[in-house]
């Protein structure tokens, strides 16, 4: 090919390129970036090549770069002459035949269709592929691409990166031509300045100013460097940019070289990017061949060379002075600035260093002008930025968005939220030296200043999404481990400061943290940030400082309570199931004990961890299921049903009495201390049980005439038979807990009286107030709040409700109410404003309600209740909702539409949530939070009044049974520590409650291959009108097999020593 020397030659190359990009024959392209190859793009390419040859069709097959949607790779595009480009996703090699067939018939394989592209703005050029395929969604209607603006990635995934003619076909090297013909370097710098383009490597310095310094520097030699030493874990923007469109980078550098008076350009790229290196080398070769690089470029007398240097992979070499040291053959250690590289850089000469992405922005700015560029993005940060969106998110890939876009658009619109069943907790931006931004702050616009304000950085564009399975202390530890090992060691703060920060973080994650550690860590972080020599040290503490700032509670959990909620820090958890259980039940132990045929021991293990095992065995939300590792193999172990089985086996046999004696034998000697517990719900019962076991004299004061709280009065008989609850209460009373009924603490029995008669008081009065919906019509007869409704039914009181009942809500109370309505012979319809998957109720319960014939209307928000002349309910009107943006709970917010629907009904049950008793809290005289709940210490549960403790729903808001019980357990332990003096003996007293069971610590050689056993339910017809318990437990054989399915995560592999 002759060198391009004039516009005529340029046009000829352009025509030739267009003939390849939009040939008169079908064109097939395969996404051959590293992401595509990792997913099998090479096999697809070869299969397509073979298929083309076999078919004898005239087809042009080419490889292209990454189109951004890495989670859909391998991508194949098909373009028939005159038709749109059709993008196929998740293509496998064996789809080749079908694709070839599609080429001849024009009908694309429906299961492979991803989107279509009718026209494309290459910024430097515009391509119209053609129109058609109305049934296929245009690319920018796909959620992942909606809102993206491709400037840097303008050619990626569309042109063949190994063919300079295709780059020229879409307007490539036109900007260079323009600059060289004009010959006015100062006007180019003015344009870059006017665009306010900021360095995309992370620091965000104004590129125009940097160019200006360099252009003004006087020297016999000057150098231009492209920093492609991308080393952040989880970030691969630069790699894909080079792989997909290397000429865009070269063009930017050649323009820069001309404008700043340099004759040498160097691309410093990681050796770990072999494909990028290969494509770049090929591009340099081609640019030389076409007279766009080397001597006498475009016949304008300008000489400029670009050389590629491969870095050996030190992270610090991304720092410009270290990069220069590395280029000069020294170890990659930074130098203090000033002097800045623009004054004294490579070989002591003025040097300009810009990131890959900065260079890729140059040609578009020259072509379309600075005003066009500044239209996109925010005022201070114009243009776009490419991010690699990775981590715990549905859609992963390269995303190019206008700067200033709120973080939540990335997470929820582009990324479409967390992976199923999880919630996003935080986003880590800027790689290992960035910070963690909590989900509450996702409204933050992504630009240099806003991220810095939250203690994070833009960095080169890494964006790692973290969910509730990520421990923030561990995240900080991980990143510090990285920067610590990448620290060059030159300056003291970074070398030793990070070393000490890492050792403190290691201590905390191992459970050896102290509160002084937090102070030291914070101080160290600040010192390292402010005193370090280069950017690595100055930003390395960001993960620590931001997690301390935004997730301090997680640090405190690790330090004070030795608790890692995410279950990541191994030393703090026995097993994933134990860690997820609010009561921290030693689940593998009771499974193993029962498997060894030791029913009594297994039960003792259960009851000492959880004093209401038969009730929790029926109604617990079983968070253990979410964590069980067996799910990666087949299905989770049915732990809840096993402990229900164990409890039922004891309670329903003559083993009960001997077992009670055995438990009583474990009681500590009487202490002579008296403790009052207000409320006999699960929290109060749990606290009372442990306090009694610890030897205290415990009295429960209960407002109602029977014990059990919500278990007795809110959970219906068919889920938790009263006879089962009775046995649990027998056991708790059996260990010495006294109960006084019909006494409302704070009213019938003033707190001061309690204070004088008891050494400590525990308040666990629950959340019995139904939240009220302020709708027109709630004053009508037969509008019932759910809890009083359930309570009346439990008391066998008469409730008038008619034949058709509407239940508003989506929680367990709504489901319980609806199923209770069925059992009373009426019809039940649940109206819920979101979708089924958003319902907070236990999934099995929703399913059971469906089976029994409860009707569900989703996306229905109550509008008003209509009554007749007598004030009776006759209908309810609802507004249909549609799901809008994601809210902080990670669910889409329901937005009312104009559509109103009417349902005829005779009564309405409001189950929209329970709240605490404001009257009690106000009357208590204790310090209250803004919303009116009692203030307690998070760890000791002590209130503002010494000796008074509070726990359960009254503190946390309406929760579930096991969470409520955990409050009681925690309070009992802390009250005992306080009552019995110093905490060391308290610790020993608590530990002494639990026997040291001897059981096998051998991992099962071969875990049972049996499938999960679920409990049997009565048939829907038979149960829907009966109060009989719906779910029958496991049989002993099933329970045994379930125990054998446990993988014994509680056992740690230890390396054998010789």
């Amino acid at each position: 090919m002759p060198r391009i020397q004039d516009i005529g030659a340029f046009s000829a190359v352009r025509e030739s390129g267009l003939a390849k990009l939009m040939p008169a024959i079908p064109r097939l392209t395969v996404g051959m970036g590293t992401c595509g190859r990792g997913n099998g793009a090479e096999e697809v390419y070869h299969a397509l090549n073979e298929a083309v040859q076999r078919s004898g069709l005239d087809v042009l097959l080419a490889g292209v770069g990454c189109f951004g949607s890495c989670f859909q790779e391998p991508l194949v595009s098909v373009r028939l002459p005159g038709c749109p480009l059709v993008v196929l996703h998740r293509v496998q090699a064996n789809d080749a035949g079908r694709i070839l067939e599609a080429i001849s018939t024009g009908a694309m394989p429906p299961d492979l269709i991803y989107c279509k592209i009718e026209e494309w703005d290459h910024i430097t050029g515009f391509v119209k592929y053609g129109q058609g395929y109305p049934e296929i969604a245009p690319w920018n209607q796909i959620p992942f691409f909606k809102g993206q603006k491709k400037i840097v990635l303008r050619n990626c995934g569309l042109i063949n990166p190994s063919d300079i003619e295709e780059y020229i076909a879409v307007g490539g090297y036109q900007a260079l031509y323009k600059v060289l013909i004009d010959g006015r370097t100062d006007s180019v710098i003015e344009q870059i300045k006017a665009s306010r383009l900021r360095g995309r490597g992370g620091a965000g310095f104004l590129t125009g100013n940097k160019w200006d310094f360099m252009a003004k520097a006087k020297s016999d030699a000057k150098y231009i460097i492209c920093n492609a030493d991308e080393g952040d874990p989880g970030a691969y923007m630069n790699r894909n940019e080079i792989e997909g469109d290397p000429h865009s980078l070269l063009e930017g550098m050649i323009i820069g070289g001309y404008v700043m008076g340099a004759t040498e350009g160097i691309v410093y790229v990681r050796a770990e990017y072999p494909l990028a290196v290969r494509r770049l080398n090929r591009a340099i070769e081609q640019a030389r061949e076409y007279g766009l690089l080397g001597t006498n470029i475009l016949d304008r007398g300008f000489n400029f060379n670009i050389e590629l240097v491969q870095g050996a992979g030190a992270f610090v070499c991304g720092e410009e002075t270290a990069l220069i040291a590395s280029l000069e053959g020294f170890a990659g250690r930074p130098h203090p600035r000033p002097p800045f590289p623009a004054q004294k850089g490579l070989w002591g000469k003025p040097t300009n260093i810009n990131n890959v992405e900065t260079w890729c922005n140059i040609a578009p700015i020259i072509t379309r002008g600075p005003a066009w560029f500044a239209e996109t993005g925010s005022v201070k940060s114009p243009g776009t930025k490419v991010f690699s969106l990775v981590g715990k998110i549905q859609n992963t890939g390269l995303v190019e968005m206008p700067l200033g876009t709120p973080l939540k658009s990335f997470i929820y619109d582009i990324g479409e939220g967390a992976v199923a069943g999880r919630r996003v907790k935080a986003v880590q931006t800027g790689g290992p030296s960035g910070g963690c931004i909590p989900v509450e702050m996702l409204d933050t616009p992504v630009d240099y200043e806003s991220l810095a304000q939250l203690g994070s950085i833009m960095g080169s564009g890494g964006m790692v999404v973290l969910d509730e399975d990520n421990c923030m202390v561990d995240v900080a530890r991980y990143f510090v481990e990285f920067t610590h090992s990448e620290s060059c060691g030159k300056c003291v703060p970074c070398r030793v400061g990070l070393n000490k920060a890492l050792s403190i973080l290691n201590s905390i994650t191992k459970g050896n943290g102290s509160s002084e550690h937090l102070v030291l860590l914070d101080e160290l972080g600040r010192m390292v940030r402010e005193c370090s020599l280069c950017g690595l040290g100055q930003s390395a503490p960001n993960p620590v400082l931001t997690t301390i700032r935004h997730f301090r509670e997680e640090y405190e959990d690790h330090i004070v309570a030795h608790r890692c909620r995410a279950g990541v820090c191994q030393e703090l958890a026995l097993s994933p199931c134990e860690n997820s259980c609010p009561l921290r039940m030693n689940i593998p132990r009771f499974l193993e004990l029962y498997q060894e045929g030791r029913l009594e021991d297994a039960f003792e293990s259960v009851i000492l961890d959880n004093p209401l095992p038969a009730s929790t065995g029926r109604v617990c939300q079983h968070p253990c299921d979410n964590r069980c590792r067996r799910q990666s193999f087949d299905e989770v172990v049915n732990m809840r049903e096993v402990h229900r089985f164990l409890a039922d086996s004891i309670y329903q046999s003559d083993l009960f009495e001997p077992m009670l004696e055995r438990i009583k034998a474990r009681k500590l000697a009487p202490t002579g201390r008296k403790v009052a517990v207000a409320g006999s719900g699960p929290t109060g019962l749990t606290a009372a049980f442990y306090l009694a076991m610890l030897g205290h004299d415990v009295t429960i004061f209960e407002e109602r005439s029977e014990a059990g709280g919500m278990l007795r009065f809110a959970i219906p008989e068919y889920r938790l038979p009263k006879s089962v609850l009775r046995r649990e209460l027998d056991l708790i009373e059996g260990v010495g807990v006294k109960m006084v009924f019909n006494t409302r603490v704070g009213f019938d029995l003033p707190l001061n009286e309690l204070a004088s008669a008891f050494d400590a008081v525990f308040l666990s009065i629950g959340t019995w107030k139904e939240s009220w919906l302020y709708l027109p019509g709630t004053e009508l007869k037969n509008v019932h709040p759910a809890l009083p409704f359930l309570e009346s039914v439990a008391r066998h009181d008469q409730v008038s409700m008619g034949a058709r009942v509407a239940v508003i809500g989506g929680g367990n109370a709504a489901i319980d109410s609806a199923r209770t309505v069925l059992r009373m012979g009426a019809e039940a319809t649940i109206l819920y404003r979101r979708e089924r998957k958003d319902m907070p109720a236990i999934d099995e319960e929703i399913q059971a309600a469906e089976e029994e014939g409860v009707r569900f209307v989703f996306l229905a928000a109550p509008h008003r209740i209509l009554g007749d002349a007598d004030g009776n309910v006759k209908a309810i009107e609802i507004v249909k909702t549609r799901l809008g943006e994601y809210d902080k709970s990670g669910r889409r917010r329901p937005i009312p539409t104009d559509e109103v629907q009417r349902y005829e009904c005779d009564s309405v049950i409001l189950a929209v949530g329970e709240t605490f008793d404001v009257d009690f809290c106000r009357a208590s005289g204790l310090a209250l939070k803004e919303e009116g709940t009692i203030v307690v210490d998070r760890f000791t549960l002590e209130t503002s009044r010494p000796g008074f403790y509070a726990g359960g729903d009254v503190i946390t808001g309406a929760s579930n049974m096991s969470n409520a019980m955990s409050g009681g357990k925690q309070a009992a332990r802390k009250m005992d520590e306080r009552l019995m003096g110093d905490s060391l003996s308290g610790e020993q007293r608590w530990e002494s409650l639990f026997p040291d069971f001897e059981y096998s610590r051998q991992a099962p050689g071969e875990p049972s291959l049996s499938r999960r056993h679920t409990a049997h339910s009565l048939p829907a017809q038979a149960r829907a009108h009966s109060q009989d318990e719906v779910v029958d437990g496991l049989s002993s054989q099933e329970a045994l097999e379930e125990c054998r399915r446990c993988l014994r995560c509680d056992l740690r592999a230890t390396a054998s020593t010789h």
Partner: protein, 245 residues
């Protein structure tokens, strides 16, 4: 760094006091010329400055960043603070970090009471350290006939590296590896005694601020260094090179 030919005079403020400095001077040089003391550890007059120990950081009005006085050129109109609660805290922390990094046991050190690290810790009022000691097990290189290199006492100030390269011109020393694993090495990581280019001049020993480099035959407390001699030599040489006296 210092230039024998006085450059253009400029006015700066140091700790509130308006003083005169010369263009081309660093903040440290300007401060010292005006009788202001800024603590330093890795800096040795006569050698190039590297800004490694960060003990000489100062505050500059108008910026949040702390600047190392030894490498930052002074500019007209700068207002510098050489002492503040924050600077004292950070200087202390830098020395504390050095004290826990390796094994600085003064009672058994040849440089006890003649050690710059020790006197720095004393002048900063460090009575104890708040971080856990690393207690690394490090080598002592006894292979040289006249000198000893004890890595346990090394603070990686690189004065030895610089004096050998810049004054003696022998380039025996370098820093190998990185981060917390950084070590001073002689030759191509050979024993010092086998380093062919070592002239045995001992300038590195005199430049070393601690007991890391010492003469053989010295016992606890006996190793008195002559850092000034290195400075004298280096500045004389710089003077000769530029033709001034």
């Amino acid at each position: 760094m210092s230039n024998p030919l006085p450059n253009k005079t400029i006015s700066v403020r140091i700790d509130g006091e308006l003083v005169t400095a010369h263009e081309g001077q660093t903040i440290l040089e300007a401060a010292r010329a005006n009788g202001k003391q800024i603590p330093t550890l890795c800096y040795l007059k006569g050698l190039s400055a590297v800004g490694a120990c960060r003990v000489c950081v100062v505050e500059l009005a108008g910026t949040d960043r702390l600047l190392p006085a030894c490498t930052t050129p002074i500019q007209d109109g700068m207002s510098i603070k050489t002492t503040s609660a924050k600077l004292t805290l950070y200087r202390r922390m830098a020395v504390e970090l050095l004290l826990v990094e390796r094994n600085h046991i003064c009672s058994s050190c040849v440089s006890n009471s003649h050690c710059e690290l020790q006197s720095m810790a004393q002048s900063l009022g460090i009575t104890h350290v708040r971080y856990s000691y690393n207690n690394p097990r490090l080598q002592v290189d006894m292979s040289h006939p006249r000198f000893v290199l004890d890595h346990n006492r090394c603070i990686l100030c690189t004065r030895c590296v610089r004096v050998c390269a810049e004054v003696e011109g022998a380039n025996v020393w370098e820093v190998a590896s990185r981060g917390i694993y950084s070590r001073i090495v002689s030759d191509l990581k050979d024993d010092w005694g086998h380093a062919h280019n070592c002239t045995g001049c001992g300038k590195c020993v005199q430049a070393c601020p601690t007991g890391a480099l010492a003469e053989k035959g010295q016992s606890v407390h006996e190793m008195v260094k002559q850092g000034d001699a290195v400075t004298r030599l280096a500045t004389q040489r710089a003077g000769q090179a530029s033709g001034a006296h």
